[in-house]
Amino acid sequence: MFAEQRYRFLIQQYKNKIYTYSLYMLKNRMDADDVTQEVMIRIWQNIDKFNILAAKTWIIKTTNNLCIDYLRKRSIAVNREFEIDEFFEDTYSKNHNSENPYLITHFKMVASKVKEAIQRLPENLRSVFVLYEIEEMKYEEISKALDLPINSVKVYLLRARKKLQEELKGYEPQEII
């Protein structure tokens, strides 16, 4: 009963989280679309089985597992580790009201560089970083979703931040303006 309502609620709540995580993990829009679609189908198939309050962890865990499957399949087929992130929407510029075209271009380029740098992080660091910094999940939620001890989550996050800093070291955003 009310399965449809629960499903719609969950989809509205988590569709962007699933999609964002898939995009950062897979670095490919089509694969991210496929994973998002697959997760949505699985949510519907399990709508009566899981607790709606614990849905977030379940959904992210499912998304992560599917992303890992995709990455494994892909590593067998072709090595696409350093793809350019042309598939990201301009969510950065949408969040800034500036009408100055130079500033908009600058923000877009900075966002693009940061996203690229995040994508270059190793898989285990990237997943923790995206969940914590972009999806704003708590340590405990990440720990449950990725089946990692909380201390490992903290260590991975710290390593990811250091690695990201190294990746962005040579990049000077001020030069663009």
Partner: protein
């Protein structure tokens, strides 16, 4: 000596700097890093660099999953939703799937119901009768009951004397007489 060691740029200090830059450090760590930045320009520079990155990461938002893609996925893959009209889907999305709108709608509905009940509350009517009126009503009620009682009595008399005797008891007696005659004939 210890103080100098405390503000040295070692692994522990770098970790503290990162936490402070990303805004999730403890109060003690914040205090140590602030003191260290005042003493050590290298630490100040590193903190500034990490803060810049944290700021750039902080403005990144979740990617929007396109609504048309979502509708297609749902209609194509989930049979229960195939017949759902677009209007209902949109209405649901607009009202029920957003907790804030849903809460506001519920509050408005409940408030409307409460106000309607309060406004249309039935007025309590109070009756005031004199003793004479009560006595008069009592007498009229007695007369009415007497008339009804008389009718019941007449009906009872008619039932006992005419209907039961003539139309019920007599045919039964006749029937029993016939049966007796038949049985007597058989014994002979």
């Amino acid at each position: 000596m210890n103080r100098k060691k405390l503000f040295k740029l070692n692994e522990e200090m770098v970790n503290r700097i990162i936490s402070v830059a990303y805004g999730d450090a403890t109060l003690a760590d914040k205090f140590i890093v602030m003191r260290a930045t005042a003493q050590n320009p290298e630490i100040r520079e590193l903190l500034s660099s990490y803060r810049q990155t944290a700021k750039e990461v902080g403005v990144l938002r979740e990617e929007e999953y396109p609504d048309d893609l979502l509708k297609n996925v749902i209609r194509k893959n989930i049979p229960a939703f195939k017949n759902t009209s677009s209007f209902l889907f949109d209405l649901y999305s607009a009202v029920f799937s957003r907790p804030v709108i849903s809460a506001v709608t519920s509050i408005v509905l409940i408030t409307t119901i409460v106000i309607t009940l309060m406004v249309n509350k039935p007025a309590q009517i109070s009756y005031h009768y004199s003793q004479a009126e009560i006595n008069n009503a009592d007498q009229q009620a007695r007369k009415a009951f007497a008339i009804v009682g008389k009718f019941f009595k007449q009906t009872q008399t008619t039932l006992e004397n005419e209907i039961m005797g003539e139309h019920v008891a007599k045919p039964i007696n006749n029937g029993i007489g016939i049966v007796n005659n038949i049985l007597e004939g058989e014994t002979k």
